[in-house]
């Protein structure tokens, strides 16, 4: 998590009897993101009876708790205490790790590559070049199964979602939608445009954590040929040494 000397202020909203939504709504999106992730880290580390955990995304955090043990009022106080701590000590810094992800683009591996190229009015090669041109910050873990949610490639236009979402997208699918990018760790239904697939196993349900990356880590794609797909079979996604 990058350090933020001064977290942005947050607002706390009721979200039922077993959760609170914490929102950072300053004009600085980067600062909002670091604030909610730093706060999630503080809540995890501090631990409080009855608090199950926190789910940070872009500018918000869902804090879930057991209303038999604690209450919305107590958890709100705990969250505000965390904010005062962060104001005082600053957010802890963690050096991001880097992940390199081989991708077979197009064809059966990326059935929507040409659709995306057409929409962006760019050649397919240029779509691949833009998708592999930079490292992406993993912003949060999303559904399904801890997907790495990233700010998307520098395409000219946002990518529309599929009109008819697929009932099943394979594990390893590399997809884009709007201004976001993602890898699907597990087979699931999906409405994002699939432009490629990685042969690496992202999800490992036999180990903890189930996915190797955390929000704040960096991820970069590089193209491989279809015939190389099987040479990676059985290998897991791991941070570069």
């Amino acid at each position: 998590m990058p350090a933020t000397a001064t977290p942005t202020p947050v607002e706390v909203f009721e979200s039922g009897d077993a959760a609170l939504r914490v929102v950072a709504s300053s004009p600085d999106r980067e600062a909002n993101w670091s604030t909610v992730h730093a706060l999630a880290g503080w809540l995890e580390a501090a631990g409080a009876d009855g608090v199950h955990g926190a789910v940070p995304t872009y500018d918000s955090l869902l804090v879930e708790f057991d209303p038999g043990v604690t209450s919305a009022r107590q958890v709100r106080a705990f969250v505000l205490l965390g904010m005062r701590q962060l104001d005082f000590i600053g957010a802890p810094a963690r050096a991001p790790r880097e992940f390199s992800v081989p991708v077979v683009y197009g064809g059966e591996y990326g059935p929507d590559l040409e659709r995306v190229a057409e929409h962006e009015q760019l050649p397919v090669e240029e779509i691949i070049a833009l998708h592999t041109a930079k490292s992406y910050v993993i912003r949060c873990l999303g559904a399904p199964a801890g997907s790495p949610m990233m700010d998307g490639p520098d395409f000219p236009l946002p990518v529309p979602r599929l009109k008819d979402p697929r009932l099943s997208v394979p594990a390893g699918a590399v997809a884009v939608a709007g201004r976001q990018a993602v890898i699907a760790p597990a087979m699931a239904p999906g409405g994002w445009c699939v432009i490629g697939q990685t042969p690496l196993a992202v999800l490992d349900v036999t180990s903890e954590p189930l996915v190797p990356y955390l929000p704040g880590d960096l991820l970069r794609f590089h193209p491989i040929r279809p015939e190389e797909f099987t040479t990676y079979a059985g290998r897991k996604l791991e941070a570069a040494q």
Partner: protein, 337 residues
Amino acid sequence: MSGSLVIQQSGNSVVTDLGRFRGPRFGLPVNGALDQFSARAANILTGNADSAPLLEITALDFRMRATTDILVAVTGAPLRLTVDGRECQQWEPISVRAGETVALRQITGGLRAYLAVHGSVEAPVLLGSCAPDTVIGFGLRLTDGTELKTSRSVPPIRQPYFDLPLFRLGLTRPEFSSHAVVEVTDGPDVDEFGDTADLLYSTEYTVSARSNHIGLRLGGDLPERQSGAEVLSRGVPVGAIEVPSRDELLVLHRGRGVTAGYPVLAVVTTRSLDVLAQARPGHTITFRRTTVPDATAKHRAALRELENLRSTVSTVFALLGIGSRPSWQQFAPAAGS
């Protein structure tokens, strides 16, 4: 003594527990028993920890045979419960002998039943929970012939007067009806729906057949979002009510994806999530607005009821020597000793 449960007719059944509470931070839904009150009660009635693995049986008939003498309890939706053909009571412990068949038939009124076994059953665990996760393909879904390992046997306990129920522990059972009143609190995004939010409280909704453990889809007059601004993905609580389409209301349950980009209109209370867990397709639902403190108080009242049950069960089981040596042996030495 360890033994096993041999599943003869699996219907639609899984081994689950109260849920994977550490899951959401890793992007995994909490999952677990949809009717938490019934699941806790079944475990308590068999002397287990609330969070012990147990069977969740949804909608379809179920049958199993025990290879050792065991103690079970069945809670949740009303059904016809028999042990080797003898009619038995739900919501009470039942002694089952080795070789006998336990059958759950005609689940009516509700949708989900829970079957707990004293000493529980073995199941694989992920992040501290055995709850199945259909998205990542984890968990124990039962099929005909599955054998579940049990860890403890309980010698047969039977009324000398045949067919009289053995226990009368007196838990107030939840009510089951084809029309449910579900309590909700205002969601964090209620203002986005303007005046149309009130439709939620004046409309009778019908449960669609496309409902499952991820969410219930309800047909009826729908509140409409007044703004079209893009919503960044954010964590959504179990119980969140969203209006993702013009056709149906979506009420997220324990299998929900942890993040989503739809505004949250209202959130179902913890207590009422159990009511929703029992709503069958075609059942009708009306929503009633409540407050977070009131919802918390109702949840805690239900937990107190379960605590009272736990203390009754532990007294009765101690006298009968279930889970330990019978305490009556201390008072009544055997003749001749």
